[in-house]
Amino acid sequence: MSSPSRFRSRARTLAVGLAAVTLFATTACSGGDDPGDADNLSIFAAQGPDVDLKTNSFSKEMEELSGYTFDWQTTTYDGTTAAEARRIQLAGGDYPEVFLMIPWVDQFSQQDLLRYGQQGVLQPLNDLIDQHAPNIKQAFADSPEFKALATAPDGKIYGMPQWNDCFHCSYQSKLWINTEWLQKLNLQMPTTTDEFFDVMMAFKTKDPNGNGKADEIPLTSSVDDLLLPYFANAFLYDPQGSATYPSTLTLEGGKVTLQAQQDAYRDALAFMNTMYAAGLIDPGAFTQNRDALIAKGDNAEAPLIGAATALHSGIFVTTYQDDGRDEAYQALAPLKGPKGVQYASYNLPSMPGATFALTNKASEEEQVAAIKVLDHMFPQDQHLRAEFGIEGKDWFKPEPGETALDETLTPIARIPETDPNVKPANDGWGALAQYNENAEFRNAQVQPADGYERMLFAASKLYEPYVPQDQVFPYWSVWVPQEESAEVAELTTNIENLVAQASAEFITGSRDVDDDGAWASYVEELQSTGLPRYLEIQQKAYDASK
């Protein structure tokens, strides 16, 4: 038998434990900040582990400028979860006075802006910009596309996007070809789809890596990089960039059309199918992620990849390798198709939506203060300070002989490469401050003569002339109205799923691209999935955006 005292002590432990639990629940209420605090400006921002916004020297400067103490509410760099958490917090009515986000982490979508703008959570910035932000007004005047990107169809600016004029990002679908193999086999850079086919065939059969094995992979890509668009552009204009923009919407004399139902698209698929059937395309191109792709590119035994489609070659082969294999891959200009078609897909490098927004919790004075902080980051020198830090410490004025990325521009600054071994200085806001990243700013930074960035710049020049401006559907300035947003979200998902699936099946042969019946049933499937309604909504939204 246990002694009663022993039992009692246990019971007491339990009781104390319980009391602690309940007490905990009640006393924990003391936390939580009041966004209405008069001297504080609550800012929601993404913070990586090497920046501390609270102690950041630029934060201090901005606190002085605005006259407010910043109350930072930070979120993770992990995009998917950051977005989900932000939406739940917003839906729970728990949001700050200012949002300061990073496009590639998480930002307000156009739909978010319309929804929360019309619900009154997000405050229009138009008047604030007019009265308190001369630099922003100047930037809008300099790049009207920037203003168009920021403005909703009702004329209001519910949030400010980051303007990022990244030249090489505009041409997502580049093809990189192994020039060492070309030389070895005494071949020229192909210029037409037919020539390309022959080159691939030579890669496959003539053992260009010289290891005696037919282990070459003539052509590959990954599910994140998309193989098709580069080749489809030799048959019709295909605007698909990467998996993040998989739509084939274009304009045909002002009419919104879906390229994936055109006969020329079918011709493109047929060409791809011929290559696939000849064993020139890696079956993994439709199933592998980038990890598996680069494993092929870096394969220890011998270089395997003949050509691959990707934004830059570093995606499929690690740069600066000892055997220098990565340097063999050079961009191939758009191919000319059998009917003389030769296009390059264009995507706006800026992300539609907004990263900076003010909520209804901010008082008028706070709104003015916040817009002044934003405005401060627009002029070039202040932008350098905001993004990178202090001159002479975190970045340097160009020295004579140093040239800008775009050699026609006067260089403005040299930003040293980040050394992962050195603790960052915590002087700048980094990606939080990239608002006026126009070509004059971005391309005027000093780059080493043989640098990767310069190579990308040159490669992108090969694609620039082939964008059919009149066919580009400006999806970034087309805002689908609130009432139709739910419908369009479903239609977009269904149609893009169907196009991606059917295209891959036509190429790999599980649908027969030569069979008129199979093609007709695919087109019919598109119709029954709601394509007409989809185009109708997009057309209306496009017309409203003009």
């Binding site: 319980l18 639990v21 309940t22 939406r87 917003l90 839906a91 009515g93 979508s109 739909q111 978010d112 929360y116 619900q119 009154g120 959570v121 282990d215 992979i217 599910v223 890696d282 079956p283 993994g284 439709f286 199933t287 592998q288 992620n289 990890d291 598996a292 494993a295 092929k296 394969n299 395997l304 947003s485 739910a486 369009v488 979200a489 479903e490 977009t492 998902t493 269904n494 799923n497 991606a500 699936q501 295209s503 891959a504 099946e505 790999t508 599980s510 029954s528 999935t529 709601g530």
Partner: protein, 322 residues
């Protein structure tokens, strides 16, 4: 052999089933007031963290608006449900979810049991402990890594599987591009990852078996297999049945991450499940009311499945959830 089936749980069931009626209630309250008191705290927790939020799930019937709040938002009746049912892909994603999940539950059920029984037989303590520890470890690997390794292994041309086929001079199979292979890949990598972790619960149940039952089996001269069949299995059966019931009752709540990461254009016809689909739609237009409606739909199916399986289990094995 005269081994009577030994059912440790049997006695308990017989003890007090006739607790009905108001007088029984009063008697039970008087006698077990301590138990009721003890129950009060966790029940309060259930009310606060489960039932109060449940009331707010009315947003499935509303057009949710942050400023107006849940109760101030406009009623839209069944419109959110209607939209889901009317979607042309509705049937496909529901059946994909159901088939994938049922397969995962069924395949994931027996293996941990076998593993636990086998570990339980081993007398070499070090070996038994090593197997336990090693099989439990994969549970902590993130889905991203699991999927990444899976794709590498199955990838044509470089993967392990490719090497094996190449060794036999056969052509590379495009396993990742075969929609029919998707469910097998999903389920068996899942089993690989969770079998050891799930076995832990059975090891605990095995440790809880009354040792006198083993003595009795030994006296009867049972061999190991007979001991497993007559003592071990009946001993863990109540736990196993409940795990199965709970698994089936969660069939529709399949997570999105793994299916999403394993998805590619060629396996979409089978890999698109409710969770991945709503994720994609949500990327374009985050709609909480629709998400709640879909959640409610899943719950109803789960409820029906759970009740059915529970009834069957009760009839067949004599034990169920209640």
């Amino acid at each position: 052999m005269a081994l009577t089936p030994l059912r440790p749980g049997k006695v308990a069931d017989a003890a007090g089933t006739s607790v009905r009626g108001p007088s029984a209630a009063r008697r039970s309250l008087r006698r077990h007031w301590q138990l009721y008191l003890m129950l009060a705290v966790p029940l309060l927790w259930f009310v606060v963290f489960k039932y109060i939020p449940m009331v707010n799930a009315v947003i499935a019937f509303k057009q949710y608006n942050v400023v107006d709040g849940i109760w101030g938002s406009d009623w839209v009746g069944l419109a959110n449900f209607q939209r889901f049912f009317d979607n042309p892909v509705f049937e496909r994603i529901v059946s994909n979810t159901f088939l994938l999940s049922v397969y995962a539950v069924l395949a994931g059920f027996p293996i941990p049991i076998v593993l636990a029984l086998a570990i339980n037989e081993v007398r070499l303590r070090f070996f038994a402990k090593t197997v336990q520890l090693v099989t439990y470890a994969p549970f902590f690997i993130s889905t991203v890594i699991i999927v990444s390794m899976t794709i590498l292994i199955l990838s044509p041309r470089i993967g392990l599987v490719s090497d094996v086929f190449g060794f036999f001079g056969a052509d590379d199979p495009n396993i990742l591009g075969d929609p029919n292979a998707f469910r097998h890949i999903y389920v068996w990598t899942d089993v690989w990852q969770t079998a050891g972790y799930s076995a832990v619960i059975y090891l605990a149940a095995l440790a809880g078996i009354d040792p006198t039952l083993y003595e009795a089996a030994r006296v009867d001269g049972a061999n190991r297999l007979q001991k497993i069949v007559n003592v071990d299995l009946p001993g863990i059966a109540p736990t196993a049945v409940i795990i199965l019931i709970l698994g089936v009752g969660n069939v529709m709540s399949l997570g999105f991450e793994k299916a999403f990461l394993l998805q590619n254009p060629l396996n979409l016809s089978q890999s698109e499940v409710i969770a991945t689909y709503t994720y994609k739609v949500g990327l374009i237009n985050a709609d909480f009311s629709l998400a709640s409606a879909i959640g409610l739909f899943n719950s109803v199916i789960n409820l029906v499945l759970l009740l059915t399986v529970n009834r069957v289990a009760k009839r067949v094995t004599g034990s169920g959830l209640w």
